[in-house]
Subunit: 123 residues, 2 copies
DNA sequence: ATACAATGTAGAGTAAACTCTATGTCAAGA
DNA sequence: TCTTGACATAGAGTTTACTCTACATTGTAT
């Protein structure tokens, strides 16, 4: 299946402007039809979901760009891409650990507040 | 103990400019000495660490500002502050869950790469 | 007394990632 | 044929959170 930018925008929850911006940055590069309209494919869709995943895990556009470039170069870059993902995996792991630690401290603080409120009878 | 902005900057790993910016935004409001220099206290230090924690868990400055304002108003806002932290705790929890899911998908992808590289003998 | 390093303020500049505006093209329905 | 409405490009504007510049004071070591 092929989709217009409007359809694709609805499917991916990315604004039309954002999609054009991503294309400008060489992240998502749909085909064009005879009248120069963008034609997004199902492959573009899967790729877009992956881009969103990288973004949601804190990878900056510049680095996604680098990954996209390797991807466009084909199978010869498989090693390099795997390396990128492995490194990113490690940073994700550290992010999670850090957040869990923050969570524990936050819980301490909330407990402290509970006690304070009890003590000063502000319940 | 009291600290100059330079000392405080080194202790907190926040740039001098950032500290002045935070003061401008009413986040950290140190005392001043007779010649108008900032005097940061140990209380400011603990508070600054907490601010950093909120930031590192994705709370925007605007919201930290709101929290700081309540804090400055004293004990009568304990309830409200605890409420804020409880809500934030929930969002942190969801962040962690989302990251863990992303991690699982990333592992799948890395495995896929490993197989592809094996298959195409690019090792 | 003087140089110089740290600090003060006000305001401009930066980077990332969008987001919007102006203007133009084109296919399809009334 | 005329008018929408979706799409096109180029470039300007926005938001967040700093970060830096220019210039004036002040504290301290020589």
């Amino acid at each position: 299946m092929e989709y217009s930018i409007g359809e694709f925008s609805r499917m991916t929850n990315l604004g039309i402007h954002t999609l054009r911006y991503y294309e400008h940055e060489n992240l998502i590069t749909p085909k064009r039809n005879s009248s120069n309209r963008r034609c997004y494919s199902d492959k573009d869709l899967a790729w877009t979901y992956f881009i969103k995943r990288l973004k949601n895990t804190g990878m900056p556009i510049k680095e996604i760009q680098r990954y996209a470039k390797l991807r466009a170069e084909g199978d010869l870059t498989l090693n390099e891409r795997m390396e990128m993902l492995t490194v990113h995996r490690e940073s994700l792991n550290e992010q999670i650990k850090a957040l869990q630690e923050h969570m524990a401290k936050l819980d301490d603080k909330i407990d402290f507040y509970r006690q304070e409120i009890e003590r000063t009878s502000l319940k």
